[in-house]
């Protein structure tokens, strides 16, 4: 007879006192003790250098220039446009948190914490104008409002995607304005845009267009039609081999040669196109990996059921392929976000470009480069860490779904 265990006591929980923990984790064989001492020495030397620096640092270089770092040279009188349109970021994060739940929670909480922190410190020390203070004070509530809406039953994931697209288009429209002599929305050239908002806009627009282009390229590369295949391979391989920086210079230097004489292309737009060209080639390779993972039998079964080739691709292959590559796709989005910083090297005013301009342009901050670059690094770190925590959440969820 087979005995079935109906109730089993869980293995006893080990209770470890701090000393045992120390011995086991830091000093157990003799060489670990040596390593621990080395690590402690390293930490001590680093802190010995870092703490005095952090205390005596000229943080005023960041705080007095916070406006430039956030919005660049955008005209003071028109800042309400930036403020009102960029409230979509907390709203989007909030609604995504409401719809997808735990997956988006870290990102939302990080955003709230940063906003509250900035608002609090700006009321105390930072000389930000009232509008900025209000923005940071209001945005946590916008996140929460978005969360409430996201929790409602009728709100579907696709609403978030639509909101994402609509907000992107309206933001760009609002920031550009109508015409030179418009009373309500005077035109603001992109050369005056700057700081964090440019970084966010390029990244968001890039993320929006890179995935569809990547999917089309990947499908073309897998195609049986030789022209599509050859064109896709040429595009992907050339753009993957060229550094983004080289492509950026190429676009800016050669575009006057290749375009009709009358047109003067927008530098920001050219930089954006370079980033999209480069990242879409990588995205195509990521998606191709997913396409190859869909088993041949699925396609044959669909064809046997009489589905058209287009429908087989749209409803059988792509959903499975994209699902399998979500981690790689999010990883590529993170890379794209980090890639935006390179536009600073061609004189554009993204976050890094604005930082560079502060150090080079204002004599009093010439020696404040570590502070300003640390600030830029911190901003990037918060965003990227938020994105990768979302990515981990997606992977976790997919693993849970697969079981």
């Amino acid at each position: 007879m087979v005995e079935t265990i109906t109730s089993s006591t869980p293995p006893p929980r080990e209770s470890i006192d701090p000393l045992t923990w120390l011995r086991r984790n830091l000093f157990s064989p003799w060489y670990n003790a040596v390593l621990t001492l080395l690590a402690l020495y390293l930490i001590f030397t680093l802190l010995n250098k870092a703490v005095p620096f952090l205390v005596s640092a000229q943080w005023a270089a960041v705080t007095t220039n916070l406006r430039i770092l956030l919005v660049g040279q955008y005209p003071q009188s028109e800042l309400w446009r930036v403020g009102s349109s960029f409230l979509y970021i907390p709203f989007l994060v909030g609604i995504a948190w409401g719809v997808w739940g735990a997956m988006m929670r870290p990102f939302a909480l990080i955003l709230i914490a940063v906003a509250v922190g900035t608002a609090a410190t700006s009321f105390l020390v930072v000389s930000l104008s009232l509008g900025f203070q209000l923005w940071f004070a209001v945005s946590p509530f916008v996140v929460l409002a978005g969360y409430m809406i996201g929790r409602m039953d009728f709100v579907r994931p696709r609403f978030v995607l639509i909101a994402w697209l609509v907000s992107l288009v309206t933001t760009i429209f609002l920031l550009r304005g109508l015409g030179e002599d418009s009373a309500v929305l005077p035109y603001v050239p992109t050369m005056k845009w700057g700081g964090l908002i440019v970084t966010i806009l390029i990244a968001q627009a890039g993320i929006t267009v890179v995935l569809p282009i990547g999917v089309i390229l990947a499908l073309a590369r897998q195609s049986e039609l030789w022209f599509f295949k050859a064109a896709a391979i040429a595009y992907i391989e050339i753009l993957r081999a060229t550094p983004l920086l080289c492509l950026l210079f190429l676009m800016l230097i050669l575009s006057p040669m290749f375009l009709p004489d009358i047109t003067t292309p927008d530098r920001l737009l050219l930089a954006f196109i370079a980033i999209v060209l480069n990242n879409s080639a990588y995205m195509a390779e990521n998606v191709r990996g997913g396409l190859q993972s869909v088993s041949r039998g699925q396609i044959e079964a669909a064809q046997a059921l009489g589905m058209r080739n287009l429908y087989v691709t749209l409803f059988i292959v792509l959903p499975q392929a994209l699902r399998a590559t979500i981690p790689a796709i999010v990883g590529q989005f993170i890379i794209l976000f980090k890639d935006v910083a390179i536009v600073a090297l061609v004189g554009l005013m993204d976050l890094l470009g604005a930082a560079y301009a502060i150090i080079l342009g204002q004599d009093q901050w010439r020696t404040a480069d570590p502070e300003v670059f640390l600030f830029v690094a911190a901003v990037y770190w918060v965003f990227t860490y938020g994105m990768s925590s979302v990515s981990r959440g997606v992977e976790h969820r997919m693993r849970a779904g697969a079981d």
Partner: protein
């Protein structure tokens, strides 16, 4: 068999031509080809018009004219009377120097940090985690800016140079490391060493055959120490019988306001090398960690149960399987290293992209130089993917 497929297509089993799959496929391709051709044609016509209007010469022959600009540092001898093409090659040699040294250092640092993350020592593994998570989440260019400014402004005067005894010195005049000076007797000495190695190898085979006949181990005759002794003896012999030493150790010494001797690296080179190495090492560390963790723990236990020593488990069980996982993404990181070297434009290390940029500024041959540059990058990319494919074929698991 139909002799006239083209006619067959037009009326295939009575299917009208616009619903004929074969026709649709051709039509789609022709349509796409026309679209691409019209875009390319548009750009080409503009190019011709603009070139004519501004008097720009688009001939590639111009790349053979005098460069007339300086390349601050070059592995191959260069002066400004050489051709533009030669200046480009000088830049390329600098890129290769950066990438080779960078690849070795990145691999070493990455493996150390990756293994540190796996360490049973809590503090070490947390330190490695902070390093990896800290660097991976900021852009390379931001890190590079931070490092360049930090490094280039804090490097001390030559009098107070940072010194690591026996390794090198660092000051704002450059980084000097201890190097080896080779003399003319190096080649004969290397022949001696090679002979020693050969002898050791032959002896080892002889020993094995002897042991087989004997039926037991021939200790203490057949150990690695015996073989080491032979090689060392040959090396010493080769050193003593020659009038000059094959190489000597050359240490940098302070003379006046600057250092002399040793191997010199410019601060620019050092800055870009440090930025690329430290940053990409954080990616390599993750690859190493993932690869080692991908080897199932049961295999290690099984190997231990079979009586393999700890060393044998590492070398014969973990390493081959981890390498199979790690090498393809590692090649990807070497590609990133190569492409990242273009960031040398920030510090001005005369790498191929920086030289091209200078050449475009000085000579105005933008189109030719960009095409040359892209072809060069493509060739480098092909070389990397050939290496990757070769490795993949080599380690492919042969299934039934």
């Amino acid at each position: 068999m139909s002799v006239r497929p083209s006619l067959e297509i037009l009326n295939y089993h009575g299917v009208p031509v616009w619903r004929n799959v074969i026709f649709i496929r051709y039509a789609m391709q022709v349509f796409a080809a026309l679209a691409v051709a019209s875009v390319v044609g548009f750009l080409a016509v503009n190019l011709m018009n603009n070139a004519e209007q501004r008097g720009v010469n688009l001939s590639f022959r111009l790349l053979q004219t005098n460069a007339g600009f300086d390349v601050p540092y070059s592995l191959i001898p260069y002066d400004s009377s050489r051709s533009i093409l030669y200046a480009f090659l000088a830049g390329l040699s600098n890129t290769i120097r950066l990438v080779v040294i960078g690849a070795v250092l990145t691999t070493i640092v990455g493996i150390i940090i990756g293994l540190a993350r796996l360490s049973s020592n809590w503090l070490i593994s947390k330190l490695a985690t902070v390093y990896v998570e800290g660097l991976r989440n900021i852009p390379l260019i931001v890190f590079a800016f931070f490092l360049f400014y930090g490094l280039l402004t804090t490097l001390p005067q030559t009098k107070e140079a940072w010194r690591i005894p026996g390794v090198g010195v660092a000051s704002n005049r450059g980084i000097y490391t201890t190097s080896l000076d080779f003399s003319s007797s190096l080649v004969p000495w290397l022949l001696f060493v090679a002979a020693g190695l050969m002898a050791a190898y032959m002896l080892r085979r002889l020993f094995f055959r002897y042991e087989e006949r004997l039926g037991r181990l021939a200790r203490p005759l057949n150990t690695k120490y015996t073989l080491l002794l032979i090689v060392t003896a040959m090396a010493v012999l080769g050193w003593v019988v020659q009038p000059t030493a094959p190489f000597s150790i050359n240490q940098p010494v302070l003379e006046g306001v600057n250092f002399r001797g040793g191997m010199r690296f410019t601060t620019e080179f050092f800055a870009i090398l440090a930025a690329l190495t430290l940053y990409i090492a954080s990616y390599v560390a993750e690859i190493v960690r993932g690869a080692v963790q991908s080897v199932p723990g049961g295999q290690l236990e099984a190997a231990r149960a079979l009586g393999m020593s700890y060393k044998q488990v590492i070398w014969n069980i973990v390493l081959p399987q981890a390498a199979r996982i790690a090498v393809p993404p590692m090649i990807g990181q070497y590609v990133n290293l190569t492409k990242g070297s273009a960031l040398a434009i920030v510090v001005g290390y005369s790498e191929v992209f920086v030289v091209s940029r200078t050449a475009i500024e000085k000579t105005g041959l933008a189109l030719q130089i960009f095409i040359l540059l892209i072809v060069t990058y493509l060739i480098i990319g092909v070389i990397y993917s050939l290496i990757g494919n070769w490795y993949n074929r080599k380690v492919l698991i042969v299934e039934r």
